[in-house]
Symmetry: C2
Subunit: 425 residues, 2 copies
């Protein structure tokens, strides 16, 4: 039983596909979302289905993997049962927990309430709607102060996600504003990127972070490093440098923590809420319970692996191999070893930073490397083809075709919780 079909859970399920085990994958969504491209949905470049792939399609030709579309509310390790929101329960022999992470607001309800997020597709699409609605409001507002606040966008967090969204937003505004919002002065928009550390892109070597900083500034972004958010309200943000910015859009990309999982409280957790595991991603004292991905704290050579998709995928595959060795009565030969294949972030048209071992790429070369890697990992041939065509089209035409405010009417059968947690009630 695999709980959660993100990168870790999906990699584990694929590692077990076609093997002599029965696999049940359970997720509160019926599709896998390609998290690294969420910012492109939030900036009107791609549509939701471009970066989503239905689980049932992924395992269409795999007889030993079945999918349950349900929210897990409780895991009962003692009786080996998983309980779901609709009152159902499923028994397991072996459990892989892969419920991922959710935004960490460090205990501030005001931050949670007054910021927008892009951890999930519903959130990313809301962010797109919100940004476009702000432009509409800016046009329709007569008051000068209020008119300035609408096209002011503040992104909290200078990690890859925050940097990528910020640069995508500068392009959206540059490409669309002058041509399609003639009532609005293009100079009236303001983008602020706030990072608590002393430079942006902390996972990258320092000079790559400085390069990204220069590129963003050249594109008009105010980059504030060494700065924290003190207060966030519905119409502004107060920063630790004393600056008060009137804005209707504060994007939160500054911290995540592992999802809470009721009834696994007996497991040790790190400060970020990750479950402590051994060298085979087993929970302490639980031979048949594994944790992978953002949920699991996996420490290699004294360093905890970051909450990113590459460790999650490698952990998922390793757990699949361990489970298969268990069923054959073998001892898995080697503990988990992480192969660091590098980190990448797009910082605009023709520019990206990539850090792959000793190889550091910037500019157009980094951008092309980013394109190839992201297309490769995007699941499903159709999605790859569609996304490639759309990227090419948007690149050549300098267009953002999805710049529309869309809604989906609510349905009583579709009652996914609004917040990020797979297991929160």
């Amino acid at each position: 039983m695999i709980v959660g079909g993100g990168f870790g859970g999906l990699a584990c399920a694929r590692g077990l596909a076609g093997k002599p085990v029965d696999v049940v994958l359970i997720d509160r969504r019926d599709y896998h979302q390609f998290t690294p491209l969420l910012y492109q949905v939030a900036s009107a470049l791609l549509t939701a289905p471009d970066i989503a792939y239905p689980f049932r399609a992924a395992f269409r030709n795999t007889r030993n993997v079945s999918f349950i579309h349900a929210s897990v509310t409780r895991v009962d390790l003692e009786h080996r049962m998983v309980h779901t929101r609709d009152g159902g329960s499923v028994a397991y022999d072996c459990l892989v927990l892969a419920t991922g992470s959710e935004n960490n607001y460090f205990g501030s309800p005001a931050l949670a309430a007054n910021t927008l997020s892009m951890k999930t597709l519903p959130q990313a699409q809301r962010l797109r709607n919100h940004v476009l609605a702000c432009l509409d409001r800016a046009i329709q507002t007569a008051d000068a102060d209020e008119r300035r606040s609408w096209p002011t966008f503040v992104v909290i967090g200078g990690g890859p996600a925050g940097v990528e969204f910020t640069s995508a937003l500068t392009e959206l505004l540059k490409l669309v504003l002058g041509r399609e919002y003639p009532e609005l002065d293009p100079g009236s928009t303001r983008l602020v990127l706030v990072e608590g550390m002393d430079r942006i892109l902390p996972p990258f070597p320092a000079w790559l972070g400085r390069y990204a900083d220069r590129v963003l500034r050249r594109r008009g972004v105010e980059v504030l490093t060494g700065t924290l958010v003190q207060q966030a309200t519905s119409d502004g943000v107060l920063l630790s440098n004393g600056q008060q910015i009137a804005t209707r859009t504060i994007v939160w990309s500054a911290g995540v923590r592992a999802t809470a999982l009721a009834e696994t409280e007996q497991a040790s957790r790190t400060r970020a809420g990750r479950l402590v595991t051994d060298a085979h991603m087993r929970l302490a004292g639980q031979r048949e319970v594994f944790a992978v991905g953002d949920l699991a704290a996996v420490t290699i050579n004294g360093t905890e692996l970051p909450m990113l998709s590459p460790p999650a995928m490698q952990e998922g595959r390793h757990v699949a191999r361990t489970i298969l060795a268990d069923t054959r009565g073998e001892t898995p030969r080697k503990p988990f070893r992480y192969r660091d294949r590098g980190t990448m972030a797009v910082i605009g048209r023709n520019a990206a930073v990539a850090s792959i071992g000793r190889l550091h790429l910037t500019g157009l070369v980094g951008w092309i490397a980013w394109l190839v890697v992201h297309l490769y990992y995007l699941i499903g041939f159709r999605n790859r083809a569609v996304v490639l065509v759309k990227w090419a089209w948007n690149y050549l035409r300098k267009d953002r075709p999805i710049r529309m405010i869309t809604r989906i009417d609510a349905d009583p059968l579709v009652d996914e919780p609004a917040q990020g947690s797979q297991v929160s009630e």
Copy 2:
């Protein structure tokens, strides 16, 4: 001032583009939706942006047309003002009303509450979510009776929209069910099409309706003609033939009426709520107020034109010509004449019916004609290219890639009313 950017309003705005008049187009959505393909969004074939086009993009290179994204709540003909939901108001010299139609439940709140609709993109996407959620529920339900009710789908209304959705739904179920829902017996699905008249597709010649009837029955649809809905609840429907069907999905496609428009009550309305207009689509006694599309009752040779896109577009263009003649001080030479270019409906893979003057097409030939015409009228080169590629892909692969239950988180700035009316409060 043009209120409403459907086929009629958009055609009028395009007719005035680049001409010596100032045009303001106002709509509660920021995109034009291609209504004839909504059923493909509802049946997991296309995504919402495939059949939507932002108004700002449509008039990007047109200096004399500007767009306001707002809901019109009141039209004040006396003071020549249009009032919007957000408290704004805009003055006009000349007004074109093109607010379209909304579902007509003939005064039954139970019908309105317990049926699903596909007049708008939010509704069509909800319908897709709902159908897929029903399949999930069918799997997760142990009770045999309840298990039968989930994959039972009842479509009320055998006009082109109802027939097209029904046939698209049979294909979705046929293509997806066996392969991706192995827990569900493909024979357990049930599709019922209910039509009050004595045959389906009443706008078409009788033999085309009989042909469509045969095709649908061959695909397993129960076609009930001469049958009305007596009662609709959340778990079933009672028909006038005494049949009671346990279902969680009743799709309403049986009647529309023109949208209500406060303060234009002084204008005469037909039984379907359409505004009575003269030969130039002017409201009686209102030289500078026009109505086009579903909202306007235009009678040609004693027959009222149907609520379809071709009359709306031709009326919109005629009104544009009339307004331009007015500004030049000319009398428009000719009253409006409608050119009937025919009607079409898809009834499945390789099969459509088309009635174009004396020419009647069925089967593959009708289907190809349908494809060409719908691609031609789809706005925007990109949309055409993307939709063509997706159709080809889905045709060859027999796939339905958008079969996922998606949500968009609510945003306070995006408060479009759930119901169809542009002007209802």
